[in-house]
């Protein structure tokens, strides 16, 4: 395989050798690993983009409610507030709302695209689709962004983890923010190295973040963490694009994130036994849900 890579350094080398973008390496790699043609791979990603856009729109325009009735509607509220005078700025506030919208839709048993997981599925579509509206990016640009995000996500999957049960929330919303930051940089014309710098900066911001979902559900704190992850991605991309680099190289940041993840005790890795899940309120909510009848339409 000419376009396979195990590390960020190898990925950069491939990009520089042929003067191509990360997304182009990832697309060429995809045609090498399976029987998918380039056209088929792009069409499949276009389908993912379509479902992503539907999930953003649904969460921002309808009052969704989760099965547990714990969540829904907050994304819509934040989006409207974003039209006023938010401290975080219109674009950031809207992107955060869109990220939350997807995870609210997910919790309501709506259709989403895992990116890289269901619990972190809001950050990538929320940020890309919202910024594309304010900046006039085309679907072709967004699809390229998704391929470059996929490359960064794959580096974490190969060298660390993208599972909250294995390495905490840093491996889910953290990785999603890193993927998104890299996509933003590539679409904005940054170099492959700047993409990985942005990804490294995003992960460094939340290194060690635990996975402590109340009642074991993908709602609290996951929905708001997707909103915060959107802001993390945007600012990390800005830092990289203005020329700020990561003092610790991307590959070493990935290793350290995984080393920290393995040190996180099992109570804080998706078992709902520690952190927010173990607070008096968290426990009460879990007890209420256990009593809930399963039969509700």
């Amino acid at each position: 395989m000419a376009y396979d890579f195990e590390t960020g350094a190898e990925l950069i080398k491939l990009c520089e050798k042929e003067d191509i973008k990360i997304s182009e390496v990832m697309l060429r790699r995809e045609t090498e690993i399976g029987d998918m043609t380039r056209e088929k791979a792009v069409a499949e990603m276009r389908l993912n983009l379509k479902v992503m856009r539907e999930s953003v729109n649904k969460g921002l325009t309808t009052k969704v409610e989760s099965v547990s009735r714990l969540s829904g509607g907050e994304a819509m509220n934040l989006y409207r507030y974003g039209d006023l005078d938010p401290f975080s700025g219109h674009e950031t506030c809207h992107a955060a709302a869109a990220a939350m919208a997807v995870v609210e839709v997910n919790a309501s048993m709506g259709r989403i695209v895992a990116a890289p997981t269901a619990g972190a599925s809001g950050i990538l579509p929320g940020v890309l689709i919202e910024t594309s509206l304010s900046r006039g990016w085309t679907d072709e640009q967004l699809i390229e962004g998704l391929f470059s995000a996929g490359a960064v996500g794959m580096l974490f999957a190969k060298n660390a983890s993208i599972s909250g049960a294995a390495a905490g929330c840093q491996a889910e919303t953290g990785v999603a923010a890193a993927m998104t930051a890299a996509a933003l940089v590539e679409i904005s014309g940054g170099t492959p190295m700047q993409c990985l710098d942005a990804a490294a900066i995003a992960i460094k911001n939340i290194e060690g973040l635990v996975c402590d979902p109340v009642a074991g559900l993908v709602e609290c704190p996951c929905i708001k963490r997707n909103g915060m992850g959107a802001a993390n991605a945007l600012l990390s991309a800005d830092m990289a694009l203005c020329g700020i680099t990561s003092l610790i190289p991307f590959d070493e940041v990935v290793s350290s994130m995984y080393a920290v993840g393995r040190e996180i005790r099992p109570e804080y890795r998706e078992t709902a036994k520690g952190g927010l899940a173990a607070t008096p309120t968290g426990r009460q909510i879990a007890a209420n849900i256990k009593r809930m009848s399963g039969q509700r339409d």
Partner: protein
């Protein structure tokens, strides 16, 4: 999953909220439906471990019902599964067990189809929407549903395995994975689980039945 595809990272497209508790559960139901092979009339689900603990909030019950009706894990109708099952005249009920199971996301599915044939299936959701069927009618199996699967029940006599694999080769079916199981020594029932690149058609099954006399039952998933 060593050789990741970009679509393992950006994907799958699924109905939320959880890849293991919802998408995996829907897939378990879907594969169970294919094992049953006919329209189900009555289905009893027993949930264990984390499925029983957090399944209500994750819609695990709805996903299982949707799957048993033949819906795929990204079908938005999963949300209305109870109503759709009622409309289709399928009786479903659940036991949320507190008993220990070997794997945290385990379900036992006991189904009676419209012809009165009963099937019991045990499976687990192993993460990322992937599943493993571990028991069919109290017999140990290993079915992932990733490939077309042929399950063969046969007398435990020498030469059956080579007979079956020879016939499959002649039919142009390439075997991806194959496992054999039996219940102790002697002819107490033996099984083969064959996962192949291409599906085994009913015509092919008839040929296997004719050329391999020790085979007495076949199931295609």
């Amino acid at each position: 999953m060593e050789n990741f595809s970009v679509f393992d990272i950006i994907g799958p497209r699924m109905t939320g909220p959880s890849s293991s508790h919802t998408a995996g559960a829907a897939r378990l139901g879907y594969i169970a439906r294919r094992i049953i092979g006919a329209e189900p009339a009555r289905v009893h689900f027993t949930l264990y471990g984390s499925f029983a603990e957090t399944g209500r909030g994750h819609g695990t019950d709805k996903a299982l019902i949707a799957g048993i009706m033949g819906f795929m894990p990204d079908d938005p109708r999963i949300r209305s599964a109870y109503k759709l099952a009622r409309d289709a005249g399928i009786v479903v009920d659940f036991t949320w067990s507190e008993e220990h199971a070997e794997h945290p996301n385990t379900v036992m599915i006991e189904a009676e189809d419209v012809n009165g044939v009963e099937t019991s299936i045990v499976g687990r959701s192993v993460g990322g929407g992937n599943i493993l069927i571990t028991e069919i009618n109290h017999l140990e199996v290993e079915v992932t549903g990733d490939y077309p699967t042929l399950i063969i029940e046969h007398h435990d006599v020498p030469g059956v395995i080579s007979d079956v694999s020879r016939v499959l080769a002649q039919l142009g079916v390439n075997i991806a994975y194959m496992k054999v199981f039996r219940h102790g020594r002697g002819d107490n029932g033996a099984f083969m689980c064959i996962e192949s690149d291409n599906p085994v058609t009913p015509e092919m099954q008839a040929i296997i039945g004719r050329l391999c006399p020790a085979v007495h039952n076949m199931m295609v998933i």
